[in-house]
Symmetry: D2
Subunit: 78 residues, 4 copies
């Protein structure tokens, strides 16, 4: 059965305070080489019929992401 991954991120122009907190915490742990962190949501769907790419795209638009403030990507694996 195809597994479909949907990743949802805030649009690049929208500040992501959770990513900022992680970025600022990293040097205190000795990680000085990380220059950007952004946090989003990751969904794994199993889809038993239809066109998995198309179904996942519609599901993402409806229930997983808010298209006004977020972008999403759909990746089908087998």
């Amino acid at each position: 059965m195809p597994t479909v991954v949907v990743d949802v991120m805030l649009k690049p122009e929208i500040l992501d305070p959770q990513g900022q907190a992680i970025l600022r915490a990293l040097p205190t742990l000795g990680f000085d080489d990380v220059t950007s962190v952004r946090q989003g949501k990751h969904f794994e769907l199993e889809i038993a019929g239809g066109d998995p790419q198309s179904v996942a795209h519609q599901v993402a638009e409806t229930l997983l992401a808010n298209p006004v403030i977020e972008d999403f990507t759909v990746t089908v694996t087998n």
Copy 2:
């Protein structure tokens, strides 16, 4: 500069109520073919030096995931 993706999911044996809510909502919207939904976190890091895979793995273990209840994957792209 390499971009590294870290995806964090609850371990498979741990119930994911957020994913369950989405799964149960889908038939009410006409999506009858989705048989499983699990939700996790998705992080995108830019790493300016060192071994990006290794740095991201250490960052994930320390600040992004709780290894007792979560699994994570690290994927380096360019």
Copy 3:
């Protein structure tokens, strides 16, 4: 030591797909009386000095919420 709670919600005019998913799932579980669900973030801070309300407000503005898309409340308990 004072404990301060910061609750962060998407502004009311911004669609909350996670809350929508929960709302749509509820009747399938026999919960027919819930008419609205919105999901946000909840933070509990312990603050050892200064004015806890003021400190928490500044922390919320900087690291916990994105004021462009989110509202937050600060509640001090003892």
Copy 4:
């Protein structure tokens, strides 16, 4: 109509990496008095009938929290 707040937190003995990231970031922003940060989820439900406290408790157990790893509180306001 009663509004019910459900706050969901990881159990105290379970490490919360998101809270840790925020805690570690705070001194870099000049906030030296915060000694603990934990992050959870916050839900606001409107409930049109039945016993709001009881309904929200059942909803929380079923769809909002994973009782194995999370605790929750239910607060009814009017």
